[in-house]
């Protein structure tokens, strides 16, 4: 059993890296079409990675080499491991019994911390500013995100006392929307909105791409990275984007096609697996691509204010509505 899991882990890692780069290409193409450009070919990210892997890997003189070189690996491994705890379609998570949504949140933070550490270790003022911004960003969105997750978990713990309330697989087996009342429905909509708004910040995309901010601090935390290290960050970014959207899909859009078609066995798993990735792509295009072409980059204080007040309020109201729904 352990051996099977090991093989599955390896396959899954390769698969998410592949899909991460592919979806990155689709995202770039669609964004380009929305901006009235032609855009690069869809497989451009693969070319980019191949090229980057051939390039010289420069470590700046005043960098801290072991952190500087270790951070990209940490970011990539953290991003990939996020998928070991996520169900895909009707497939249960590979390590579902070892970790739940709280672990996933922590691993997301680890990926962000890896970027911060890499930035601080670069020894460049631009990277320092970028790393500071990434930390502020992290502190800004964690609270609303935690509130939203707690609301969800609390609701499940009250509704299904026999199932683990923090497990993503529970959310997939029992879709939230079919179990809430009207108040809870409204509350859950607000919670979903909160998580969707947190997603671009978690992923460092416009309007929250302050840690990189090309025109301001010249790619910030990434400024000193090149060659292999940068390629690792590049793949990690693609995988992390997938993981975040997959999380939202699992939490709020867990429906599967197999029961609809009355399939069972391998066919059902396969169909649901494919449908899962279609859902991830659709959500990615809506919550990342559309948002990043529609807005300008915000400033760090504006972002902090936005997350701490309006968005925290939204998630709190959502939590309150969910509680009311259960208690009334």
């Amino acid at each position: 059993m352990i051996f099977l899991k090991l093989i599955l882990t390896v396959f899954l890692s390769a698969w998410v890296m592949f899909i991460g780069l592919l979806y990155k290409g689709i995202d770039r193409k669609i964004a380009a079409r929305l901006q009235a450009r032609f855009g690069p070919p869809i497989i451009q990210p693969f070319y980019d990675v191949i090229k980057l892997l051939q390039k010289e890997n420069i470590v700046p003189e005043n960098a801290v080499p072991w952190i500087f070189n270790g951070a990209p690996w940490l970011a990539l491994l953290a991003s990939i491991s996020l998928f070991f705890y996520q169900p895909m379609g009707s497939l249960p998570p590979i390590l579902g019994d070892r970790g739940d949504i709280i672990l996933i949140l922590y691993v997301f933070t680890v990926a962000a911390i890896a970027i911060v550490a890499g930035g601080f270790a670069s020894g460049s003022p631009f990277a320092t500013v970028g790393a500071q911004r990434e930390m502020v960003l992290l502190m800004s969105y964690e609270f609303p995100l935690a509130t939203a997750i707690i609301a969800l978990a609390w609701y499940y713990s009250k509704t299904f006392s026999d199932l683990p309330a923090f497990s993503l697989y529970t959310y997939v087996l029992k879709p939230i929307w079919s179990h809430v009342g009207p108040l809870g429905f409204l509350g859950m909509l607000l919670i979903m909105l909160t998580i969707l708004v947190v997603a671009p910040a978690e992923l460092g995309k416009i309007p929250f791409d302050i840690a990189e901010a090309e025109t301001e601090i010249a790619e910030g935390v990434m400024v000193e990275y090149s060659g292999k290290n940068y390629a690792l960050f590049y793949i990690a970014d693609g995988v992390k984007t997938l993981a975040m959207t997959a999380l939202v899909v699992n939490m709020f859009f867990p429906w599967n096609l197999s029961s609809f078609f009355g399939l069972s066995g391998v066919g059902a798993y396969l169909l649901d697996f494919i449908f899962f990735w279609v859902k991830v792509l659709a959500l990615l295009l809506i919550s990342v691509t559309l948002v990043r072409v529609a807005f300008a980059r915000l400033k760090v204080d504006q972002i902090a204010r936005f997350y701490w007040f309006p968005l925290l309020l939204t998630s709190m109201v959502g939590l309150l509505l969910v509680v009311c729904d259960k208690l009334v």
Binding site: Q35, P125, I217, E219, F295, A296, R297, D301
Partner: protein, 410 residues
Amino acid sequence: MAEISYGYSVPIGPIHPALKEPIEFVFDIEGEKVKGVKIYAGHAHRGIEWMGMRRNPIQNLYLAERICGICSVTHALALALAVERALNIEVPPRAQYIRLIVAELERIHSHLLWAGVAAHEVGFDSAFMLLWKVRENVMDLLEKLTGNRVNYAIIQIGGVRRDITEELRHEIWKSLDYYRTLSERIKVLLLEDPTFTLRTRDVGVLTKEDALSLCAVGPTARASGVPKDVRQDQPYIAYADIGVKAITPDLYTGEVKGDVYDRTVVRLLEIDQSIDLIDKALTNMPDGEIVYEKNLVKLLALIKKGEGEGVGRHEAPRGEDVHYVKFVPGSENLAVWKVRAPTYSNLLPWVPMFKDAEVADIPIIVASTDPCMSCLNRATLVYPSGRKEVLTHEELHKLSVEKTRRLSRR
């Protein structure tokens, strides 16, 4: 007790993605706040004036066009105006109208280009792409009109080199209609966008007092409520017939704040103004000659005989551009050629704009005056042993006196 500094310094430039041309800023930063700034220019000095003083004015037109990559007609026009004033050459009315039309088309393309760059600086890349796409229309029109997309080579001493035919007139009308329909949408795209407003409102404020005392020019000054425009104050070419009124942001927003948002407002309103000016110029354009003297040999002979000095001023898209020329008898070359591009005057206003700005505001504040570094750089210091950064007033004065003596001996 010594003051403890928690800050660090961040260099922006000479090469940085926020800058389209080389210039160096060194910011003292505390957290995300800018506490001070030092500006070093001189990275794009090409010695164009020096080259110009070894050529005759007709050759210099080509050189002048290449001072700036965007204001292609500006420098050539200002030089031609200066030469014409020095030699008392009268420009035919039709040529004056054609000059106005090309100059205003250039303003449209320059302001669209600026708006795109500004959007890019705040990370609003969609607006950047769309604005540069609509800019292609005026670039194509300029190519039809003059033969070139940039560096139009249409200005000649005493007139212009190409006429606007009836067919081209219709092309221009068509283009004007295109921009008229777009004008409202461009304003909505930038001025009513919540994130763009968040990034530009109350950012990089230049008060009216500062704008006046630091001699800001062009849209930078007008956005601070100084109604200063060469086309209005001392009309030249056909502007005198048509009449121009300086645009201030209160026409659109009802108040003057002098921030980056206001500078955007001024530039977008000036696109409308340029459309109207071209419209009127096309309607009222008289028939007749387009150049004072067609025969270049005769023109050169006239220049060789001529003597005197002249100043040419033109309201470039970035502000007032001044050219000074001097002729001495017996030589067809310029004895003195001095260029003062608008960016030079807009250099000092940056300092109050950066006061208490955030790191994130730096690129948009730099871009907000629409700087052109290769226009700005008219001097560079080369010392055999390393770089000397600061020259005192006395040293500068001494150097200037020496140079004036050297020039007047020739």
